[in-house]
């Protein structure tokens, strides 16, 4: 019984790890779409879909979020954030 309960807890923790990625994508897309108003993104959902896909493919979205926040909406810097932490 205890083993099952620990398994349940582990699953919950794994779920939370995934949610943290989602949180980074939330914050990143808020920055790109709402704060910077980047026209490349037709909608917030589109941005989130791209971010989630990148995360699934191995992109370091947490580190990219920090880079994006430091870029302060400078597109030249944002491109290099993708090179450093995205799928390139």
């Amino acid at each position: 019984m205890l083993a099952r309960l620990f398994f349940l807890a582990a699953c919950l923790l794994a779920g939370c790890e995934k949610q943290q990625e989602n949180s980074a994508c939330d914050d990143m897309c808020t920055e790109m779409v709402a704060m910077c108003g980047m026209e490349a993104y037709p909608s917030m959902d589109s941005c989130l879909q791209g971010c989630e896909y990148n995360a699934d493919q191995g992109a370091d979205v947490g580190a990219q979020l920090l880079c994006v926040q430091q870029a302060s909406c400078d597109p030249f810097a944002l491109v290099e954030c993708e090179h450093a932490y995205g799928l390139d």
């Binding site: 919950l12 939370c16 993104y41 959902d45 491109v79 993708e82 995205g86």
Partner: protein, 384 residues
């Protein structure tokens, strides 16, 4: 019995506790949006002011508000010479980068600079505050740099700029024509490669082939570099500049690059490219399908002591392996703005289910060359 009951009570208690914690954890982690799986495939019409008009008999569409680049207002470079395009996805959405050679208005040659700009939608450009990033310094490429090609080298983690450079002189023996390379970690600060010297001298013959000009470069993480360069065997007496290829993995060891002895695409016998090729862009669609967009020309004309290519058109070829190419029976593609055509350059890149094309042509209303934006969709039926 007592023991069993106690155990059951403890288990039930733990279950309640963990269920409560789990519930709270789930509530804390609740996702507030639902994301569909897979990569994003942005339709450019969703982010642009104008639409695209299908071109009958092709899988091409033309942007209704062309041109998308006709130079910038920067005082150092109001006359643009050549522009290299690149699409860079950020979170799966394309941003567009251009590097352009330009010079002050009214200046015929020399005094060139290199500029960098970015666009969020491919039509409106933000110029880099440090432009010009490179300026003519009296070297072997002092008269002009042209045919700019930019790739991101995933091994070096750097941008690599390939270009044609030349220096004209009254005495032909003092003229220089060659291919140069520059590198940059951020697209803004550029370093000379090969100590600033050309990496290929177009005045010399290499293994029985004399080269004319660079036409296009691609780089893949696995494939490395594929460069396309116009040339002709020394044995041919007529003027022709047809497509050859060179390949290589490591830019730091260009001596290991292999220059193929046979042309990748021959000039002619079709009339539209009987005199040669001027520009090319190759796009890998999948493991069994490659597309090549190229500028071919019909003839040469003389002027000011030089010969120039004339009667240009945009054409397409396809390949299952990037090695053997078949010219499209529908060539030339019906996109040139003038007859005969003066299309001079093409760049192409796949983004999602579309190939984005940038074609340099002459816009009569502007009275100068500018870049038009086109979309090619391999998976759709030919437009009626």
């Amino acid at each position: 019995m007592h023991t069993a009951s106690t155990s059951l009570t403890i288990s039930v208690g733990l279950s309640w506790c963990l269920t409560l914690i789990g519930g709270l954890a789930l509530a804390g982690c609740t996702q507030e949006y639902e994301i569909s799986a897979g990569p994003v495939d942005v339709n450019p019409e969703d982010i642009l002011e104008c639409g695209f008009t299908p071109i009958s008999g092709t899988q091409l569409s033309v942007y209704d508000c062309n041109p998308v680049f006709a130079g910038t207002d920067e005082a150092w470079g109001k006359s643009f010479i050549s522009v290299g395009f690149r699409a860079q996805e950020i979170l799966g959405h394309p941003f567009f980068q251009i590097w352009y050679a330009a010079r002050p208005e009214g200046v015929a040659e020399g005094q060139w600079g290199l500029g960098y700009a970015i666009s969020e939608n491919g039509t409106e450009w933000i110029t880099h505050p440090n432009n010009p990033l490179v300026q003519e310094d009296g070297g072997w490429d002092r008269t002009n740099i042209d045919a700019l090609q930019i790739v991101w080298d995933t091994q070096l983690n750097e941008y690599v700029l390939w270009y044609q450079g030349y220096a004209l002189a009254d005495n032909p023996a003092n003229q220089t024509w060659g291919m140069g390379v520059k590198t940059s970690a951020d697209g803004a600060a550029w370093q000379d490669f090969n100590d600033g010297e050309m990496i290929l001298d177009f005045s010399k013959s290499y293994n029985g082939i004399r080269y004319c000009w660079p036409m296009g470069v691609t780089h893949g993480a696995l494939e490395g570099y594929s460069g396309f360069i116009a040339g002709a065997p020394d044995s041919i007496n007529t003027d022709v500049c047809q497509m050859y290829r060179f390949t290589g993995q490591d830019l730091s060891d260009t001596s290991s690059f292999e220059f193929e002895a046979e042309p990748l695409l021959r000039a002619g016998p079709e009339t539209y490219d009987t005199a040669g090729h001027a520009s090319v862009a190759v796009v890998k669609w999948d493991d069994e399908q490659y597309f090549m967009f190229y500028v071919g020309f019909r003839e040469w004309i003389e002027g000011n002591g030089y010969i120039y290519s004339n009667k240009h058109s945009l054409n397409m070829a396809t390949s299952p392996d990037a090695n053997v190419w078949s010219k499209s029976p529908d060539n030339p593609l019906p996109i040139n703005l003038l007859q005969p055509g003066v299309v001079s350059d093409v760049a192409a890149q796949r983004v999602g289910s579309r190939i984005h094309l940038w074609v340099t042509d002459y816009y009569e209303d502007l009275g100068k060359e500018a870049v038009g934006y086109y979309i090619f969709e391999p998976d759709i039926k030919v437009h009626p």
